[in-house]
Symmetry: C2
Subunit: 722 residues, 2 copies
């Protein structure tokens, strides 16, 4: 299976067309609609009715009658017109049957709100599989089961196919949630904050439609400017990254902000390698988000804080922020966080400071952060705001107000939206307090000016916007050309598997790495002291290592000698090593001694692969020894990676300065190291039998002098291919 | 000056008595009270009048007339009765004069609200000094100038001597703020969150009363259970730590939570040593907060989040938390943060799980986090809450509710306060959303149950409470006995200063360190090849280092040789070193070659001192080489430190495992290292002339084998003594 074939296996099952039927239907039937007060069937139908739906609604109830004053049909077949979307709220065992009727009726989309499927165990899982089979048979797109429903606030549709207590305001945030309960809380919170949504969807068990399909749909949706996502697990690996990268980083980009919670089964996979023990589900998700350009928020609160900025404001062109405040303290707090999140305080142009000096009293601070002083009225705020917005050295503004005795809170709010919009720069506001500033905050929020209770959150949000701006404007390095001998590597792996070998030590491992073009040191397996002496004659200064399938930690058993230079030393060392290991591990079958040319000096790094079922191969990079063991200073990416990612992996370790000539040392050959990471990626993608691989260490020599693989091991496992 | 004398210099100037006059006066005069609408003078008097003050109020206005219906006096002298507290709101140049009148009138306390003092520059600073002199003359305690005022909500006093727009609710949080503007915002925010305060004070320029005096007063105040503090700078060093440690960690402890913002001048002090360049104001404040037991919040939002928990809930006995939720997602989020902040999920006793199994439906999760399922009514929540509260394996509970169709939000809130209170365990709540849950949140807050919009903040607050519980229950190690030869060290330092030397290299440095009992290696300054040979004969294996006041980086100029063992080698090395340095640095005056016994193997660490004007000596500890240079892996404490702190310094570095036998190495002699840190502390405190000191490296040998000072330098500076 080639990389491409392997990748194709991991693709999405849904067609974009079906999602249109979910969000943009001309006709909706609600099966299980009910007149009974407090029932979900009534709540859903009532929401649809009150949502000002632009098409036709049909309640369906086995008993007939009416729901909310609308005559009910006994089943889908009875409905005279077409039904594009069917919403199902009947007991789980009946759902698949209703889905079949919907298929017969020509529905292109189904939302199953009913619970009692995979989440309740084995019997539920069987029902869910039956439901999915029916949908596949009829080519129906399915949301759920076990979800809150879907909402499209676009006035052209006005669809609220959910049992949410409270319909959302219209806006331009798309929201995808893997937790239905969280949806209700989010809608409630958003209402208070005047936050509007374009589309709002609870994905439930994700039997069919999942995040990836929705992200694509929302990216194409003209109403959606930013996507908020609550995720508990993802079920795609690199295909997700590849598709989402187009969404977050394409020419017409949609920022995505996600909260991911919980730990997955992937983290619990048994691991025997270094890479494996360091990785785990958090590393995988961090890698996926990072590579996809998804901004990961730590809490639901932050999710909102970032989304309202992205939803309404242009991105900053660079990182120079102006702060305007009428009180020192909050200005200092905002400054601190501004610096912490990678932004910087703008240095104003002389003209700006002139204007500020003329408009503000002498006690004011005309440098950044601008302090208009506690007794500032609207005029002073306006003059300062205009001046800094006009300054070419300012990329964004944080506008802080504290309610003091002279402050005209509401009037100050009123000057902000127009000036902000005309400037083309992002403006974030913080009117501190709650009761006295309430009207002004409402005004700001309803006029699409992001507001934060505390200025530090405004600074954090500005930081997120700048990070996204950097992502979409990143440079793409020219790809490195590699020419692995794939056929040879394949033969070696298959030969090992045919002979029942799954753990490959340095001898076989180096052959595979060499086939891919890794800089493997010249070496030979010596079976006798004479063969060892011959190898030393050829290689010069060498390392001797015992070769035995039973011996993994060679040094611990006295199976390693370094610096063997003469034939005499070689004969003695061979005998000594073999005898020592025999003594320390009598059960070990000794295949010989691996005589390897000693690598020149350099910095030791570790390269690794750990393969996960759903996600595929995760690549690891870190500096060797204490850096990995004590500081856990490693980075991960899902394979395949490009040149950009290879470089980023190396530079994002804290110990990178060690490779870059810290402490007066020569810089190391990081170009060759990038090349090795590219090879590692190809090796991982091409050979799904490689479950785990450690190159530990790879020695990186001074610049221009390449790298050397000094030790490696590979674990083959057919199970983890899938 | 001895350590004690030195410490005495750095004491607090205020007497507790004066603060009583500020918060608990029987009579208050407001000088500058005014009838003019919108004036601060009117706002302050109106606040006092409406605050239900229990004593007598006197408005004072040069024009006489009345203020808010109360007849005004033209000056303080006219007032018939005594005036315990005088509030001053007249222009800055008049303030000192009014203060004098207040003194004559017998006032014990003054609050100066007027601005225009130190914060506006030189002329203001002079007026502030005059004001302080008057207060000192009359023994008056002074709040401000340039502040919002002070509030005491205790009904026995009912004092609101501030121009706050909105009076606070009564409660048990004491609040101290260095920013007046922030006060207004905080009061407004607190009103919305139903948060009550015991005392509320804006310290302004802190000309007299500062945080430390207030902390002591609030600690003694029966109304205050927790203190919130916004700090921009502190003006005490170890005396602050010593006093505050009694407050936060004594038998009757008051937790303190602080936000510190801004960078201080201390950070900009010129530094030439390693320690100096790594330290800086953030390191100082972190050290002060850490050593004082003050919990440092990152944002104003967090300050509130922590304070409401401390103000109303008992501390958890240990770190085992139970989570109850009616929705999976929020439960998972809370779990993630719970684990991240050092807490753990409680494992329930079998009885608890039995009770839960009986009370909850089969689909519920009866393990922690308990999921009572979306359709849970009050009964299920109550059964689960009672069961986990009763479980001895549970130290605290996070109670989460999401508003779902069947949820009885208000009734569920009603069960919480009583059960929580009776359990004696901390309970934090998160009713997610905003509008639908508003009434329930108000109920919880008014009934002293801390509430958080998002469960992750509840988890964070629980983490803070547990951290404080650990602080107050910490063990105190037995102090290490040291016996430095203080007189000898003093003589050496004074001799150096007398000869005009301020930079002391290894030769003089080692003598001072040896006097204190540091494990200095045997060494001798050799002036000739023969003297060098004689030293080698005595010491065995040695290191040779050039000694020249002009040569700081000895190795760079070829001034170091290691492993000199024979007399012959010694003669050659001496000549070689001297010649090489002469060639590389012709201007260097060479005093000779320092011949030092080579230290046995060990781990290299750095010990350092950097002295700051206000704060005194800051001690540094870190592992040497890359750990300090690349990872910045160092810890700081203000001297003096005790055994506890010495141990904590060592253990809190990330690289500590390197000292503790990581990677199969022998553990190092950390007992001796603790001893060295104790010596360092004494050296720093006893000798204020030492501005900077580096011991780099100190070599820590295997356990039982001690340490060796391998290099050091000292910078003397009389200026930094103060």
């Amino acid at each position: 299976m080639t990389a491409l074939e392997h990748r194709r296996k991991d693709t999405v099952k849904i067609t974009g067309d079906g999602i249109k039927a979910i969000f943009e239907p001309a006709s909706v039937a609600v099966v299980g609609a009910s007149q009974r007060p407090g029932s979900v069937g009534r709540a859903v139908f009532k929401n649809l009715l009150e949502g000002d739906f632009s098409g036709v609604l049909y309640p369906v109830n086995v008993k007939g009658g009416s729901v909310c004053g609308v005559a009910a049909y006994r089943n889908l077949a009875e409905i005279p017109g077409p039904v594009e979307l069917t919403v199902i709220i009947v007991p789980a065992p009946l759902v698949a049957g209703v889905a079949r009727e919907a298929g017969e009726k020509g529905s292109r989309g189904i939302i199953v709100i009913s619970a009692g499927f995979r989440e309740v165990g084995k019997s539920g899982r069987a029902m869910e599989e039956e439901l999915t089979a029916v949908c596949r048979e009829y080519g129906i797109s399915l949301v759920g089961p076990n979800c809150l429903g879907a909402i499209n606030t676009d006035a052209a549709f006005g669809l609220n196919a959910s049992f949410a207590r409270r319909p959302p305001l219209a806006g331009n945030i798309g929201f995808i949630s893997q937790s239905g309960a969280l949806c209700t809380a989010v809608l409630d919170y958003a209402a208070r904050k005047n936050i509007g949504f374009s589309k709002f969807i609870s994905v439930g068990n994700k039997a069919d439609i999942d995040e990836l399909a929705l992200l694509k749909y929302l990216h194409d949706d003209p109403q959606t400017r930013v996507i908020m996502m609550y995720v508990e697990d993802l079920r795609h690996g690199f295909s997700f990254i590849e598709a989402v990268r187009e969404i977050t980083g394409g020419s017409r980009h949609t920022p995505i902000i996600a909260v991911k919670s919980g730990r997955t089964a992937a983290g619990a996979a048994a691991v025997s390698s270094h890479t494996g023990s360091l990785a785990g589900s958090e590393a995988i998700y961090d890698a996926i988000f990072h590579q996809s350009g998804i901004y990961r928020a730590q809490t639901i609160g932050h999710l909102f804080d970032y989304a309202i900025a992205f939803a309404t404001q242009p991105l900053p062109r660079s990182n120079r922020v102006a702060i305007i405040t009428n009180a020192g303290g909050p200005g200092i707090i905002a400054t601190d966080i501004t610096m912490n999140v990678g932004l910087t305080l703008a240095e104003f142009a002389p003209e700006t400071e002139e204007v500020l000096a003329a408009a503000l009293p002498s006690t004011a601070n005309i440098h950044n952060p601008v302090d208009v002083i506690g007794d500032a009225g609207v005029d002073r705020y306006k003059a300062a705001f205009e001046a800094v917005l006009r300054d070419e050295n300012v990329d964004g503004v944080i506008f802080i107000l504290t309610p003091q005795s002279m402050t005209d809170i509401y009037a100050t709010a009123q000057i902000i939206p127009d000036l902000a919009k005309r400037s083309g720069k992002p403006v974030l506001t913080s009117f501190m307090g709650e009761m006295d500033v309430r009207d002004a905050i409402d005004f700001l929020e309803l006029n699409h000016m992001p507001h934060y209770h505390f200025p530090e959150m405004a600074a954090r949000a500005m930081g997120a916007m700048y990070k996204h701006a950097r992502w979409i404007n990143r440079q793409h390095l020219i790809e490195l050309k590699i020419s692995p001998d794939r056929r040879l590597a394949r033969e070696l792996i298959e030969a090992a598997l045919d002979s029942g070998k799954t753990y490959l030590g340095e001898v076989e491992g180096n052959e595979i790495l060499a086939a891919y073009g890794f800089p493997v040191l010249p070496a030979r397996l010596a079976a006798t002291p004479e063969e060892a002496a011959a190898a030393v004659r050829e290689f010069g200064r060498t390392v001797f290592k015992i070769v035995s399938p039973q011996v993994v930690h060679k040094s611990d058993l006295g199976g390693v000698r370094i610096g063997i230079e003469t034939e005499e030393e070689a004969r003695a060392a061979f005998t000594d090593i073999v005898n020592t290991v025999r003594e320390n591990a009598p059960q070990a079958e000794i295949e010989g001694v691996y005589v390897q040319k000693m690598a020149p000096k350099g910095v030791e790094v570790i390269l690794g692969i750990n393969r996960y079922k759903t996600f595929g191969p995760l690549l690891m990079f870190g500096l060797g020894g204490i850096f990995v063991e004590i500081f856990n200073d490693v980075t991960f990416r899902l394979a395949p990676i490009r040149h950009n990612a290879a470089r980023a992996m190396i530079r994002s370790t804290k110990a990178y300065p060690m490779l870059n000539g810290a402490r007066g040392e020569e810089p190391c050959d990081t170009n060759e190291l990038e090349f090795c990471l590219t090879l590692l990626s190809a090796l991982a993608v091409d050979n799904p039998e490689i479950a785990e691989l450690d190159i530990n260490p790879l020695i990186v020599h001074p610049d221009g002098q390449g790298c050397s693989v000094a030790d490696c091991r590979i674990l083959l496992d057919l199970e983890r291919m899938k």
